[in-house]
């Protein structure tokens, strides 16, 4: 793979998409399709989660099959904050990010000692541990999960309205993408990508390879935690199902379909997968078969993902 460089049309397109997003709730309301505001919010949240995995996987070259653990940790952190009486997202969201990031720091510090397949499996193992811990934690709802008493407030504004939550998710996603874009071009991002390309060489040049990777892993975990906190607000529940390994698999699938290592890979992938799901559900009860066949087609015929069909990178 080559280093990330934004295409010239990326900035105008991003701004255009942002404007479209701002207009979406009123447009949907005008057509009487308010139901889809919730769906669009879901897409944004999963775009955020998939983008955080893209930082780890695409830019850091670490194939983590346990990313859903950080999503779940964020969701639970938000729900627990609310239980403790903190109903302000400006406090609860950073707390969720902190908890998930700290968790990722610990998992990464142990997992990054291994390489390749072993790394995939040890991240999976940690996610499974977290899953079983939450399932058996009765004070946090066990199997049923921890429900929220309504949505939080953001800087005093209630997120109870679907459009309000949509705007919050859109704003946070835009901030995160801005951050990831700058990061990918900054010295940190360059070093991270160079480590992905040739670890031995970077080690020989004296870069602290382990530390760079660990920071990226923890950062990815923290942003996934933010997505989890948003998701808990959307669904009104921090569920242990969020931590299931199939959820980690779904996030991976999103990044791979979207395009590994392309800034918008996670966003494109989340949108494509969720839109596919939503439209296939209406066609047949057994839509998983069609989805599976489509995924196989992507692997066999578009191995670099959808974003790669459009984007260019310097060789």
């Amino acid at each position: 793979m080559a280093f990330y460089r934004p295409a010239s049309w990326q900035k105008p397109l991003s701004l255009l998409l942002l404007c479209a997003a701002l207009a979406l709730p009123s447009a949907l309301a005008a057509f009487g399709q308010e139901f889809y505001i919730g769906f669009a919010t879901r897409v944004l949240i999963f775009a955020l989660a998939a983008s955080s995995l893209n930082l780890v996987l695409g830019f850091g070259g670490m194939v983590s099959l346990g990313h859903a653990a950080f999503l779940g940790a964020g969701a639970y952190a938000a729900a627990i904050c609310q239980q403790a009486g903190i109903n302000e997202a400006l406090l609860a969201f950073p707390a969720a990010m902190g908890i998930a990031g700290l968790f990722a720091l610990v998992v990464g510090a142990i997992s990054l000692r291994t390489r390749g397949v072993y790394f995939i499996m040890i991240t999976l193992a940690f996610a499974q541990m977290a899953y079983y811990l939450f399932i058996s934690a009765r004070s946090w709802g066990g199997d049923d999960g921890l429900p929220l008493n309504g949505r939080m407030t953001l800087a005093g504004f209630s997120l109870a309205d679907d459009a309000a939550l949509f705007y919050a998710a859109a704003g946070l996603l835009a901030l995160a993408m801005l951050f990831f874009g700058r990061l990918a071009e900054a010295r940190f991002g360059r070093t991270l990508q160079a480590i992905r390309e040739n670890e031995t060489r970077m080690e020989a040049l004296g870069y602290p390879v382990f530390r760079y990777r660990l920071v990226a892993f923890a950062l990815g975990g923290a942003v996934a935690g933010l997505a989890g906190a948003l998701l808990a607000n959307l669904t009104g529940l921090a569920s242990p199902n969020l931590l299931q390994w199939t959820q980690s698999g779904t996030l991976l699938v999103m990044v791979i379909i979207g395009g590994v290592g392309y800034l918008y890979g996670g966003v494109v992938g989340a949108a494509v997968l969720l839109l596919l799901e939503e439209s296939l559900v209406g066609v047949t009860e057994h839509w998983h078969i069609i989805l599976g066949l489509l995924l196989l087609a992507v692997v066999l015929f578009a191995p670099k993902g959808v974003a790669a069909l459009f984007g260019k990178r310097r060789g």
Binding site: L252, L296, V299
Partner: protein, 304 residues
């Protein structure tokens, strides 16, 4: 207390041997072809369904088992020729995506054909009752599974360690290019190993069928366990898979049976009732993380 421990140890042995049937195929596919097959658990599920359906049709468990295993082997052959061949040369990410897609397809196809409810599979009638050893009772069917598992493990050991094909397999796991350069038909070998792995999956699924429910999603939980086994044992090593299976089977079974009791004896009842089940279900993952921390290549690395 002693009887409980003995019974649970036998259960652990039985579970470990069945895990070995799954892990053996997985570790070979993984070790030789460097291919992550998340759909290995789906072969186990489909195999169990084949056995259950064939048993119902033939009204005999043994005929059903044979037909089901043969069916899964044929399915494995078709999958290898149509899909996996194209995946061996690809990176791990593509393999994860493709086999994840296979899981979706397999689960939904099974649900479409057999419905969402679990299928019942009865053990052969002669083995339905318990066996009495002194004043210790143990289900005859479980004993049979243990015997079956030991026999297959022994057979597999002879096949891999003593036969010419086994030598090729081990050579392929240690150094694929060199094996090819020596004129071994690695492609054919891959197909054979994959089909064999699929048959072992179906065998495990069919044998465990009467003990567990045959249902959609049964493959996923067992897949994770099989992965834990081969990581602990070292990828590509049959011996590692055997040791890993027995460790995981025993630790998991004994942990679930004894940990809550042990904790209740040492901790306040309140803490014990929360901690017990949690600790029991994460025990093997803790074990795996611990082993990887000290031996990042597993206990018996194939590429030493």
């Amino acid at each position: 207390m002693f009887q409980l421990i003995l019974e649970q140890a036998l259960n652990g042995l039985q579970f470990g041997l069945m895990l070995f049937l799954l892990a053996a195929g997985l570790t070979l596919v993984f070790g030789i072809m460097d291919c992550i097959n998340l759909a290995h658990g789906s072969l186990y599920m489909v195999g169990a369904y084949f056995v259950a359906a064939a048993t119902q049709a033939a009204d005999s468990f043994w005929i059903g088992l044979a037909v089901g295993v043969a069916g899964a082997a044929i399915l494995g052959l078709l999958l290898e020729l149509a899909l996996f061949r194209r995946l061996y040369q690809r990176d791990h990410l593509s393999q994860v995506l493709a086999t994840f897609a296979l899981i979706l397809i397999a689960n939904e196809t099974v649900r479409a054909i057999w419905g969402p409810a679990a299928l019942m599979l009865n053990p052969p009638e002669a083995l339905a009752g318990p066996v009495e050893i002194g004043d210790f009772f143990y289900p005859a069917y479980r004993l049979l599974i243990i015997a079956f598992g030991i026999a297959i493990a022994g057979l597999l050991y002879l096949l891999v360690a003593k036969s010419r094909v086994g030598m090729w397999v081990r050579a392929g796991a240690a150094n694929r290019e060199m094996t090819e350069a020596l004129g071994i038909n690695v492609r054919g070998l891959f197909t054979a190993v994959f089909v064999f792995g699929a048959a072992l999956c179906a065998l495990a699924g069919g044998l465990l069928g009467p003990l567990l429910a045959v249902q959609v999603g049964m493959g996923e939980s067992v897949l994770i366990l099989a992965f834990v086994v081969i990581i602990i044992g070292g990828i590509g090593s049959i011996r590692g898979a055997l040791v890993g299976s027995l460790i995981v089977g025993t630790v998991d079974t004994l942990g679930r049976a004894l940990l809550p009791t042990l904790l209740r004896a040492t901790l306040p009842a309140d803490a014990a009732s929360t901690l017990g089940p949690a600790l029991a279900s994460i025990l093997i993952y803790l074990l795996m993380a611990g082993i990887l921390f000290f031996k990042p290549q597993g206990l018996f690395p194939a590429r030493a």
